[in-house]
């Protein structure tokens, strides 16, 4: 049979439990805006009943702590989606920089022309104009000035692309060092969690680890593997170990063929990282795939226009009656009537199949300074002949660049690039929407809702008041028992 004493101890335990629970609520409210904080719920446990004289009597309640409201599957799903979205955001940013170099020309006359497509047209049009009067100095000057504009625009676009590539390498290197510090922190947290809470949720330590994982997911593509004692191993998407419980492995950088590559334990994992996700993946995709592809198109345009125009001009007769001849001692394949500087790989290609166009765009310049050296006439005809100018104007309609005319090639190039940017934009929008959705789901579970806390506090307050009333009543009862009817002895 229960006693008044036991009832008082039981209700005292209830008051303690309510106070503990109230401090959990207070902690939630205090951390309502703390990044990475996970909402906690008080844990109530019914005390084991006591059997006295064959009768079971309840023994009250104990507050045993608090549990973080966490869904590991959802958190990992959110991390993965963040990796994908961060990769496409980073890639999209650099694709936008690439397409900004090739803004469509909206003007309709040659006076307002500004893009490379117009430059190509204007250059060949200058030869068409020269047909009307091959000896006219102003028309010859126009050929050289439009050649300079073309070469200048192509080489400045190519140089910008090279600059962007270098900037992306720098960004990627910066990210690698952030990754290293985060993996180091996660390894340290693994050790702490394993020692303090090997078989249960580690609360704030786990919040910290999750926040580091979330940051890491912005930066690099990762897989998470839960290990025993609440530990965590992290690998890159392609399986290279970054964190193994208490140990972390550093990403290092090194220069390979002039580009910054990324190593893990001596293995070059640059290409795996590029396809892995995270900002690092996005930057490396842009650096190693998108920029080289755009640069290759510009190189082809520069290479084939330069070599074809140079070849035809050297074959003709200039205003002073000279024909092109190899420049003595030249190792780059330069001829005397070259309009453009010979592409860097030209000499090597004379011996090979002539398809290595690398570096042609950045190096494109006009070497001819004397407009009289433009060979409007064909060999054997007088200097008033225009047939070589007709030939050179006709290059505009020849399929010299990848079996297309130069302008068609450029048109396809900008269309393809635009489609790709637009595709990545659409992907990125969808991925961000998906991240938002997952974030909302996760917040619904794990973030502090002040209305809930107010309700909980109100409930706990009521319950505390009720317990206090019971305690007061028991106190009175106890006094009556001690006084044995004498009301004044004990109050």
């Amino acid at each position: 049979m229960g006693t008044i004493n036991s009832a008082m101890s039981l209700i005292g335990g209830a008051l303690d439990a309510d106070q503990d629970a109230l401090s959990v609520v207070a902690n939630n409210v205090a951390n309502a805006n703390t990044a990475g904080y996970t909402d906690e719920k008080p844990d109530w446990q019914e005390n084991a009943p006591i059997t006295v004289g064959g009768i079971q009597i309840g023994d009250g309640v104990t507050e045993t702590g608090a549990t973080s409201q966490r869904d590991r599957v959802l958190e990992e799903r959110l991390d993965q989606q963040q990796q994908i979205a961060a990769a496409s955001s980073a890639r999209l940013a650099s694709l936008n920089n690439i397409q900004a170099l090739l803004t469509p020309d909206s003007g309709s006359s040659s006076a307002t022309a500004g893009d490379i497509g117009s430059d190509i047209t204007n250059f060949f049009d200058a030869f068409s104009s020269l047909e009307s009067d091959p000896t006219d100095n102003a028309l010859r000057e126009q050929v050289l000035s439009s050649a300079s504009t073309l070469a200048g625009d192509i080489s400045s676009a190519a140089n910008s692309l090279n600059g962007q590539s270098a900037a992306l390498s720098q960004n990627a290197t910066g990210i690698a060092s952030q990754v290293n510090s985060l993996t180091g922190a996660i390894a340290q947290l693994n050790l702490e969690i394993e020692s303090t809470s090997p078989d249960a949720d580690a609360g704030t330590l786990e919040d910290e680890r999750q926040q580091d994982l979330s940051q890491l997911s912005q930066l690099i593509g990762i897989n998470q593997v839960a290990t025993e004692n609440n530990g965590l191993s992290i690998t890159t998407t392609s399986g290279q170990l970054l964190v193994s419980e208490g140990e972390s492995f550093q990403l290092t950088t090194g220069t390979v063929d002039g580009a910054t590559d990324f190593f893990l334990g001596g293995t070059d994992i640059t290409s795996q990282l590029a396809s892995g996700g995270g900002q690092l993946g996005g930057y490396l995709t842009a650096r190693d795939q998108d920029i080289p592809s755009a640069l290759n198109s510009l190189n082809q345009i520069a290479y084939y226009i330069s070599t074809q125009v140079n070849t035809d001009n050297n074959a003709g007769v200039d205003a002073e009656g000279n024909t092109g001849a190899p420049v003595a001692g030249s190792i780059t394949g330069a001829w005397t009537l070259d309009i453009f500087s010979p592409p860097p790989t030209y000499a090597a290609n004379l011996a090979s199949d002539g398809t290595d166009t690398s570096g042609a765009a950045a190096a494109m310049t006009v070497v001819m300074t004397d407009p009289n050296q433009i060979a409007a006439a064909s060999a054997g005809n007088g200097t008033g002949d225009n047939s070589n100018a007709v030939t050179m104007a006709g290059i505009a309609n020849q399929a010299i660049v990848d079996e297309q005319t130069p302008v068609n090639f450029y048109s396809n190039f900008v269309s393809t690039l635009g489609s790709m940017v637009s595709e990545v934009q659409a992907e990125n929008t969808a991925q961000n929407a998906s991240v938002t959705q997952l974030q909302t789901q996760n917040n619904a579970l794990s973030s502090v809702n002040l209305n809930d806390e107010a309700a909980a506090m109100s409930t706990l307050e009521t319950s505390y008041q009720a317990a206090s009333q019971v305690f007061t009543l028991l106190n009175t009862l106890m006094a009556s028992a001690l006084n044995l009817g004498e009301e004044t002895t004990v109050s």
Binding site: L95, N96, Q99, A100, L102, T103, P104, D105, S106, S108, S109, S110, G117, S118, I120, T121, N122, D125, A126, S128, E131, S132, D133, P134, T135, D136, N381, G382, T383, G384, D385, N386, S387, V390, N397, V407, N408, S411, N412, V414, S415, T416, L417, G418, S419, V421, S422, Q439, T440, Q441, N443, A444, L445, S447, N449, L450, A454, A455, M457, S458
Partner: protein, 305 residues
């Protein structure tokens, strides 16, 4: 069901997107251009390159056509003058050949024809903007010169044989010149200078070998007809050039219209979109304001109670 308590953050994201949309639409309105980056309309951007190419080719041809037109007109009117001079020479020769003139009259006619010869030679050496137009490819040097070392004197051609063409944007070619030797030194009885030099020699002594002089006069007539025929080539080029110029101008107008349709922002559509975006923004702001006032959370109610 628990809801995401940070839903206002999502609303603010929507507000950001709406504002970005408004920014894009305003920039289309202010620049008047609908495609400001490749990704907005990749196919349109590619098409624009091709349209610009054609428009600029047409533009460039129209400018060339005016230069070339001038040159062809000069060639045509020069040949007109040559025809006039030759007609006069034939009538002088015919009068000298009828046997009624005395020696000094015949010599005077001889010297008049010599004057015509000089005149025709200078017409054949006509230059346009510093270039000799009947010199084939050798436009830098006067193509015709006469040597009086022999009798009859000999006029020779130092020019080239090149025929220049102007290529139209559609690939068609227009002939720009006729080499001088084809016009004035064509073989047999078609040689203008041959006939004129022969007539000058015929009348130089005052005694006319009628048979020879009549034969030389007939040769000059034949040469005159030949020059007229050759002049038709130049006239055809002028006609072709005029036709091509007006066709090109028409094409350019159409292409420019097409390009304008492609690239220019459709103001009514963009304005409507902008207005919609503004409405959306206002609605979002109102929603946020409303939620702000009701989301003072249960705590405020508890306090009030």
């Amino acid at each position: 069901m628990r809801v995401d308590p940070t839903y206002i953050t999502n609303l603010v994201n929507s507000l950001d997107q709406t504002q970005a949309n408004e920014q894009q639409l305003s920039s289309e309105l202010s620049s008047g251009v609908s495609i400001t980056s490749l990704s907005q309309n990749p196919v349109g951007a590619g098409e624009n390159v091709l349209l610009m190419n054609q428009i600029q080719q047409d533009d460039s041809f129209t400018q060339s056509a005016s230069t070339v037109g001038g040159q062809l007109q000069v060639a045509d009117s020069t040949l007109g003058d040559v025809v006039t001079q030759l007609t006069q020479a034939i009538s002088l020769a015919t009068s000298a050949n009828n046997g009624t003139m005395n020696a000094s009259d015949v010599q005077s006619i001889g010297s008049q024809i010599a004057g015509i010869l000089n005149e025709v030679q200078s017409l054949a050496n006509t230059s346009y903007q510093g270039q000799f137009i009947f010199a084939g490819g050798g436009t830098g040097v006067a193509p015709f010169s006469t040597s009086n070392a022999t009798s009859p004197a000999v006029t020779s051609y130092n020019g080239g044989e090149t025929v220049n063409d102007l290529v139209l944007p559609n690939g068609q070619k227009i002939q720009l010149n006729v080499p001088g030797d084809q016009l004035f030194l064509a073989g047999g009885t078609n040689s203008v200078f041959g006939a004129l030099n022969a007539l000058v020699a015929d009348y130089a002594s005052g005694t006319v070998n009628t048979q020879q002089a009549v034969s030389d006069t007939e040769a000059l007539s034949s040469a005159l007809n030949y020059v007229s025929q050759q002049r038709v080539t130049i006239d055809n080029s002028i006609t072709q050039l005029n036709a091509a110029s007006s066709a090109t101008t028409n094409e350019q107008t159409q292409l420019t219209a097409a390009q304008t349709t492609l690239m220019q922002a459709d103001i009514p559509t963009v304005s409507t979109q902008l207005s919609l975006a503004e409405t959306q923004q206002t609605a979002l702001e109102d929603v946020i304001a409303q939620l702000e006032s009701v989301s003072n959370s249960l705590f405020s109610k508890l306090q009030a109670g």
